[in-house]
Symmetry: C2
Amino acid sequence: MRATVIYGAGDVRVEEVPDPKVEAPTDAVVRVVRSCICGSDLWPYSDMPATDRGKRIGHEFLGIVEEAGSEVGTVKKGDLVVAPFVYSDNTCEFCREGLHTSCRNGGFWGSKHVDGGQGEAVRVPQADGTLVKLPHTEDEDLLASMLTLSDVFSTGHHAAVTAGVNERTTVTVVGDGAVGLSAVLAAKRLGAERIVLMGRHEARTNLGREFGATDVVSERGEEGIARVRELTGGQGTHAVLECVGTKPAFEMGVGSVRAGGTISRVGVPQYEEGPIGPYVFRNNITITGGVAPARHYIPELMGDVLDGKYQPGKVFDRTIGIEDVPAGYQAMANREALKVAIKF
Amino acid sequence: MRATVIYGAGDVRVEEVPDPKVEAPTDAVVRVVRSCICGSDLWPYSDMPATDRGKRIGHEFLGIVEEAGSEVGTVKKGDLVVAPFVYSDNTCEFCREGLHTSCRNGGFWGSKHVDGGQGEAVRVPQADGTLVKLPHTEDEDLLASMLTLSDVFSTGHHAAVTAGVNERTTVTVVGDGAVGLSAVLAAKRLGAERIVLMGRHEARTNLGREFGATDVVSERGEEGIARVRELTGGQGTHAVLECVGTKPAFEMGVGSVRAGGTISRVGVPQYEEGPIGPYVFRNNITITGGVAPARHYIPELMGDVLDGKYQPGKVFDRTIGIEDVPAGYQAMANREALKVAIKF
């Protein structure tokens, strides 16, 4: 079968790899119907050291169960299923607490001996705990929205939930990538009435407005902070959803959050140390978030996606076939595409 | 009257200063009965640049109202009152949210034109919002415990509350100073059954055990982290209450907290940047806390102090008169005294 393999920065290839098969009784094999490229895939695409052997990549997919191991009970051959971007058993103490990303038997797609999601099929470990069954559909828009449960919509939701967003909180979303826009939608869904989106790509911020952003701030750094403060009577917003991962993005968050407020980070931090000194302390600013336990959120978010109330799939602005994946990476890296779907 | 003035590192003097008087109709003048020296006073005592004019110092006191301005309604001449370590109006939007430390009309004792608390009397701005009336008593132990409402017990409580401590959380307290020990007591009060105290001064950790610590870890750094993990099945504790303020203390917190857990900082950070990179993100660790809104907590904590159920005043191990304050600073700096009370 064909699958995506990354060999280093700028070097993504689509290659013939062995067909996956059930190896453990808790495995399933899923024939992928839709996958996509993530903003976080662009980090290794920008800085991974070159390797000879390459590494499978991709962590968002939905597809049809082709084979299920003997101990798999919740999904069966022929089911349409979505996989969260981390697999997990859904039974350990961390999963029971809703922190599936710390599952004792879980892990990341594309890690050692584990398939990546940007390929024709995937062996899914801990299939019972990982996969969530969806109704069959041919509706392209619905499939796209279902696919976002795998990562970006769940991740945006994690940012909003951990930041305590509700109808009384004002919100700043830092970043107009797919996660940032999903965070806008998630904040709106949780009742936020004032949502400031920090971003400068008009097509994206327009989608942000459609998703619920009430204000767009295109300035960055100190100017961006000043603008958010100007919009909020000098105070900043109760919640900041930091959806980029760079240190300047976090610093904008610190500058934009209200005293007593919360910055939730869902962009993978590209820094080891950050500004959490006396200013953060004096203002009782909370820093939270992290890698989103998508599996925990899918059951809650699914209903609103299936009935069309929310359409997070609008973040996809390009659909390609598997052979075009290298070009898809390039398009996202060049910011020509917001988020690229892969159709099989 | 006599009051404490700091002129620089190591240079604390007791001097004659003008008697305070009501300046605004919202002021009161309080004749101090008990004050004390705080661990945080030791930061300027260790590193404040020398000045000619000096600066009033001290932020914890209780005393008798001597005069109340015409607009003061909640306390009157003759009342015994306690002042939290930040004054506040108790009516602005931040106060209404319980964040009195961000009060729009509040500020710190010892700042410009505001008296310090280590003196015979204090002009209290925003007296209605700041002061809390207490029953008169001659009981030395009760007076000591009442005095801790001003800062250390409220601060320990803030750490425990913001870290979400309850009967289901395991807790690590970093630091066996007066705030650390108060945090142990506060965690116990909120129901925590497993409280690991990191500290190496036996007299202090013994008081920690009396306050509710179930384990004491005297090791520091990586060894200390390994010990906490060993005590918790490799996981770390749900909550870490960081009561020191140094970067190594925060790093121990990061190493000792469980995935999905919370580090609450109540020690004033002596660093601008801290480790909040990929490890913190991957493990969904929350960093919270800050300068404690003691005024918000006093009404809740007061009952348990007044009826003797909790005796946070045990952190005082030395009582001195006002003229001995310089020696009191030295004793705390030398770690000969845990916390020094000043009796007037």
